[in-house]
Symmetry: C2
Subunit: 387 residues, 2 copies
């Protein structure tokens, strides 16, 4: 690697997808750690927990009872951050000039779902096979599809999807949307260190009438790149470049590339990127859905193997808006981010705090070093070997 | 408050200082919390800890020994994130087009200091009086002043500062800079929950050859506001507006306003804002430095009183760059941010994770509710009352 000097000197890297910089201090991992230690992951959960509000047959907070589901199970979050029905907000008409400049707000409507990955309380994605992960990808695709705007070109693609004509697993409670929403954010918080309050494997889906900041910023950057670079896609070019360089690749299959991106902030941050121009879940072929499930598998298993612990992370899918301009939809390129906090061991994490919040994100090991470690810990899940 | 509807509905608020949006879900605090609990703050620290590398007379990691200091003590961080001397980085000359677009980096030089607030290991800012906090403000001012570029108009102001002609406390080890740097970020991580690895009261000062993202974005926004609004300052107008509205004020004295900003992300986030146009520490009069110390005092004491615990936070000062265009320096307006994670009690924090990282920051209580709570818990420090 001709950039080897970057292993030794402090430098900044540019994130073209977000349009922002971060500070890299590779020599800094040598400092001793005397701060907070994370609790090592609990490894002896029961397969069924009578107190868990996500286990089959159990009651939930607002009085509903979960069905005796056998694969995935989706329902409307009992404590949704956004709701479909609420009063409209109009800024005070009497407002003076300064209020309208400095006290700006807008109402946000939407819908929040919870989706369990398995009826088994003690599993995580890392414990599952690609085939067992596939129903999750299929459920994401179905839920995304039914929320698409009829004017979104992707809704024509969805209409032809074989998957959608097959009957969905009967248990899920996904009422059709009562109004058109703008964006769907699918994300998982895994582990207590990432604010997860229930170890039962699940993700959340928040759908809003507004385009949130992060996917919004990415779409602006992707659009700009395409305009400035002869109609080529930012992530298309990036996949090509990383496959040439081979310095940050963690894993790949026919359809997806897994890399520690050049601009990673979290110590072992990775991105799963579609190799061809997939705008959203509904663009994927059956084989691509399986390849995507396989990529998720490879990431989560390597994470657990790295420090031989149930690795915490937040992950999220970025894809085309449900509703938006043709340009926004065409410029979207399907990818998934994983932001894991652990740095040196199962109990020592990286804190993104003072300098990171006040000035600029800062990382210690380089993305190339992180990728090399993750490349090396594929294979069977460490827990299985121990059994 | 005519915007009372915002206490009930999900909405987004705009942060004009950063140019970004956040989601507010006021009804969401009702959900039960079953996730990670923070360890309650250790309250019985010794006044002197022989193993602490910040206590007077103790040895440090790289072999130095701390002087027997009596107030504040500054020294170069033994594990600096940036250094004054390192090789220069030039991108591979053989790089193809894509590398220069997508793998961008630049070297960063700089200097990192640690500054203790007191020789006493067991104190925090909340335990100190405004008079005891003043030497910290004075040391910040001195360190900032000696790093100013000779072409920065603020260096003329500094030259006339009475404070700087007085002799600095003799113990500090602040070697004069060997090269001109661009920005100085002063920040504190307090508490294990905010990644602090040593409870001895201290802050850090990282000075870099680059302008970091956050102050950079603020300067862009402040400049834009001034251009578009008849030469008025964004934070000048904001102070005026908040003093009229009286809905988010936590505290004020002659020179500073303390508010939970309209656009706060963290549950009890506050800003200390100069009431008049203070560009940087060196612009403050003797009275203003004392008023600033008093404001810090009022914030940290209220924080501790709120949940009767040693309240964790990250805080940081934003002010004019050390070196920059006349316009950047003129448009800067001194303020300090506090980002505290606790939400409901000494042990339940807000996690900014999945949705927040992937989509948009989200908060539960409104800034108006937070301000009302902080307004109500002034007065003596709860620990003193217990004694
Ligand atoms: O420098 P410290 O206190 O060891 O480290 C702390 O503050 C730094 C600056 O915000 C962060 O980069 C570290 O992750 C955090 O643990
Ligand atoms: O919805 P949960 O899992 O209760 O809550 C978790 O995820 C949310 C979305 O990222 C965050 O807002 C919460 O702070 C976090 O604890």
């Amino acid at each position: 690697m001709p950039d080897k000097i970057l292993d030794d000197i402090s430098h900044r890297r540019y994130n073209p997808l977000r349009g922002s910089w971060l500070l890299v201090s590779p020599h800094r991992t040598k400092r001793p750690w005397q701060g907070q230690q994370e609790a090592p992951g609990i490894i002896t959960l029961p397969e069924y927990d009578p107190k868990c509000y996500l286990c089959p047959r159990n009651p939930r907070a607002q009085g509903d009872t979960n069905p005796d589901y056998s694969q995935t199970f989706a329902f409307v979050n009992d404590y949704s951050a956004v709701k479909e029905q609420q009063q409209d907000y109009e800024a005070e008409p009497s407002s003076n000039d300064l209020s309208s400049l400095l006290l700006r707000a807008e109402g946000v409507k939407g819908k929040c779902f919870v989706l369990t990955f398995s009826p088994k309380h003690h599993l995580t994605l890392a414990d599952m096979s690609a085939e067992e992960t596939l129903p999750i990808v299929e459920t994401w695709t179905r839920i995304y599809a039914i929320h698409l705007s009829p004017t979104n070109p992707l809704s024509q693609v969805a209409a032809k999807l074989d998957l959608l004509s097959r009957e969905a697993p009967p248990e899920s409670v996904v009422p059709p949307p009562s109004q058109q929403l703008r964006y769907m954010q699918i994300f998982e918080n895994k582990g207590a260190a990432m604010g997860c309050s229930n170890p039962h494997p699940h993700c959340q889906i928040w759908t809003t009438s507004t385009l949130p900041e992060e996917p919004g910023a990415e779409i602006v950057q992707m659009t700009k790149y395409r305009t400035e670079n002869g109609d080529r896609h930012l992530l298309g070019d990036y996949v090509k470049l990383e496959m040439e360089k081979k310095e940050r690749i963690v894993y790949q299959n026919e359809s997806f590339l897994v890399v520690c991106p050049w601009w990673a902030i979290w110590p072992f941050e990775v991105m799963i990127i579609a190799k061809r121009h997939v705008r959203a879940l509904v663009d994927m072929s059956e084989q691509e859905r399986l390849d995507y499930a396989d990529s998720i598998q490879e990431v989560t298993r390597r994470y657990d193997n790295l420090f031989e612990t149930s690795f915490p992370y937040s992950s999220g899918l970025h894809q085309a808006p449900l509703d938006g301009s043709q340009e926004e939809i065409e410029n979207s390129w399907f990818h998934m981010h994983f932001y894991p906090p652990l740095l040196r061991s199962a109990t020592v994490r990286k804190f993104l705090v003072g300098y990171e919040l006040m000035a600029e994100p800062q990382r210690d090991i380089t993305p190339e070093q992180a990728a090399a470690k993750l490349r090396d810990c594929g294979g069977e899940l460490y827990r299985k070997k121990l059994q």
